[in-house]
């Protein structure tokens, strides 16, 4: 395989992990987040600082997941106070808070970021396989969760949390679980990102990145695992494919986001479903 294709696949794998991690929170449990990139950032910074100080790759990655998950539980606690649009804005605030702190701390590299992050030592193919393995695990976890009672309870919380409470569900705990799992997986994606590019700075985890992850979830079709997988894979490499229209690529990206929402608000999964049922009607 060519080096270029390997890089492309690695990027896809990482963003599938990131997209599905947000899908657990927003898609499954119904808690909207506009600051998801911050948790990827926490995972990335934690693991990068550790490997730079000579610690091995895998424990560092795990530590990144842990710190991101802990931060996620804190934000989850916020989600207990505020709902819906207020929650969206609060999580957006958390994202900017993360950036603000990182920018002003020299220990975290400040504006300059952290460069020279060591290679994980798996070789490019090895790293690709590891990333794909992670993505596959997260896909499996998502599919499994959907069929478990945890997924069932998430459905209820996303649908109507007051009613879920009236049926004896401890809504608080379920929200915290969603945030804990979702954000630690975001930390995993962040750690992989840091050790793929081997350079991170605050802008790698800004507002635009949070929006990008959210659009992967929404365009895929909120809550639909395969829809999000496809949307994440496509959206992550879209800017690269659009190289030939160089100057217009962001314009096309913006119009694409807009058009999907405007013409198929249920995202790609709803679009496919509609096309499928259209043809089935034609055939019968």
């Amino acid at each position: 395989m060519m080096a270029y294709e390997i890089s492309l696949l690695i990027v896809m794998g990482i963003s599938i992990t990131a997209g599905l991690s947000l899908n657990l929170i927003t898609g499954f449990c119904g808690q909207i987040s506009l600051g998801h990139a911050a948790f990827m950032g926490i995972g990335a910074y934690t693991s990068a600082l550790m490997t730079k100080n000579g610690l091995p790759f895998f424990p560092s990655l795990a530590a990144g997941m842990l710190t991101a998950g802990i931060a996620g539980i804190f934000v989850g606690l916020c989600s207990l106070r505020v709902r819906h649009d207020f929650l969206a804005i609060t999580t957006m605030g958390v994202g900017f808070l993360f950036l603000g702190i990182v920018r002003q701390q020299d220990a975290l590299g400040g504006e300059m970021g952290i460069s020279g992050i060591p290679d994980p030592g798996l070789g490019r193919i090895g790293f690709l396989l590891f990333v794909m393995g992670c993505a596959a695990l997260v896909v499996y976890l998502s599919l499994y969760m959907k069929r478990s009672w945890l997924g069932f309870a998430f459905d209820a919380v996303a649908d109507d949390e007051d009613t879920a409470g009236m049926l004896g569900l401890d809504v608080t705990q379920f929200k915290l679980i969603a945030f804990a799992i979702g954000t630690s997986l975001a930390g995993l994606a962040g750690g992989l990102y840091a050790h793929n590019i081997r350079f991170i700075d605050p802008d790698s985890f800004g507002f635009v990145e949070s929006i990008t992850v959210l659009s992967m979830v929404v365009i895929g079709g909120i809550g639909s695992v395969w829809g999000v997988v496809i949307a994440s894979a496509v959206l992550s490499v879209l800017p690269l494919w659009f190289q030939f229209i160089e100057d217009y690529k962001l314009l096309v990206y913006g119009l694409l986001l807009f058009s999907v929402m405007r013409f198929s608000p249920g995202g790609l999964s709803a679009l496919c479903f509609n096309i499928f049922s259209f043809f089935r009607k034609k055939l019968t």
């Binding site: 207020f86 804005i89 217009y248 986001l257 807009f258 929402m261």
Partner: protein, 286 residues
């Protein structure tokens, strides 16, 4: 007099935030859309203002034309983009709006270049001392406009038939329509006024910086969201107060908290603390 200077800077910044956020809160109050593309209208307003001032030589004419044109653009955006997806969950219009905003920024760049435009002759630069504070005309006008427009809005909302219809629609669309209020008309009007305010804000921003550029809306695009939340979503007066408060806090914060946090995160620390104490925003919905 660093203290006074910072206060004035804060008031100025707060007024710019206020104009744009008041427009947004109108839209939010009625339709519950987090209308990020509002910041694109702000940029559009600035561009129209600079171009027309340079063409005609009249700043006043340019501002009025900008407010009118952007107001109409706002109504078109409502009709074409939002109306068909109003019954969708809130993140659908949100993402659509973000996509639209990105596209708008790109269009400005493609048509007018990445480095932006300036006035050939910058208007309103005469210093105008008042109460020992010496500011330029443009700066006075900015502050005056934000307070003035909110006062006019409050007057219209309380004294005119259309204003009362608007208030009734915000409170309860169903009851309003049963009283014979034309809700669709109110929505268009709402988008028109909200968007013109964004344009006014963009015009003043253009004069204060003597620059319009494609990305001038990106900081307002998220900060205005924080402000309308603090102001108690849909509350016009609360939004203006929150905007000015935020302007002042940022102004002092960038001097005294700079080692710890940057400008944006000061705003959001303020936001998060405020929301944890008062989950409904600083001010109640009206």
């Amino acid at each position: 007099m660093l203290f006074v200077e910072l206060l004035v800077q804060g008031l100025l910044q707060g007024s710019i935030y206020g104009l744009i956020a008041v427009g947004l809160t109108l839209v939010y109050g009625l339709l519950r859309i987090l209308h990020v593309a509002h910041a694109g209208l702000f940029t559009l307003g600035g561009y129209i203002c600079v171009i027309l001032t340079n063409q005609t030589g009249s700043f006043l004419l340019a501002v009025l034309a900008s407010m009118l044109l952007v107001g109409i653009t706002g109504m078109l955006i409502y009709r074409i983009c939002y109306q068909p997806i109003l019954d969708q969950p809130p993140f659908v219009p949100l993402i659509a709006s973000i996509g639209l905003f990105i596209a708008m920024e790109e269009l400005f760049r493609i048509f007018f270049g990445a480095y932006g435009l300036s006035f050939t002759e910058l208007p309103l630069q005469e210093p105008l001392p008042f109460l020992q504070v010496s500011l330029k005309q443009a700066e006075w006008l900015t502050m005056l406009m934000s307070v003035g427009f909110v006062a006019i809005l409050a007057f219209l909302a309380n004294r005119t038939k259309l204003g009362l219809a608007w208030k009734a629609t915000v409170t309860d669309p169903e009851i309003a329509s049963s009283f014979g209020v034309d809700i669709i008309q109110v929505r268009y009007l709402n988008f028109f006024i909200g968007s013109s305010l964004a344009a006014a804000s963009g015009c003043m921003m253009a004069v204060l910086n003597n620059l319009v550029e494609p990305t001038m809306g990106s900081v307002p695009s998220y900060k205005m969201l924080a402000i309308i939340v603090l102001g108690g979503l849909g509350n016009v007066r609360g939004t203006l107060i929150a905007a000015i408060l935020l302007g002042i806090i940022e102004s002092y914060g960038t001097i005294y908290l700079d080692d710890l946090l940057d400008r944006d995160s000061i705003a959001f620390v303020f936001l998060i603390i405020a929301l944890m104490i008062r989950p409904q925003g600083l001010f109640q919905r009206t």
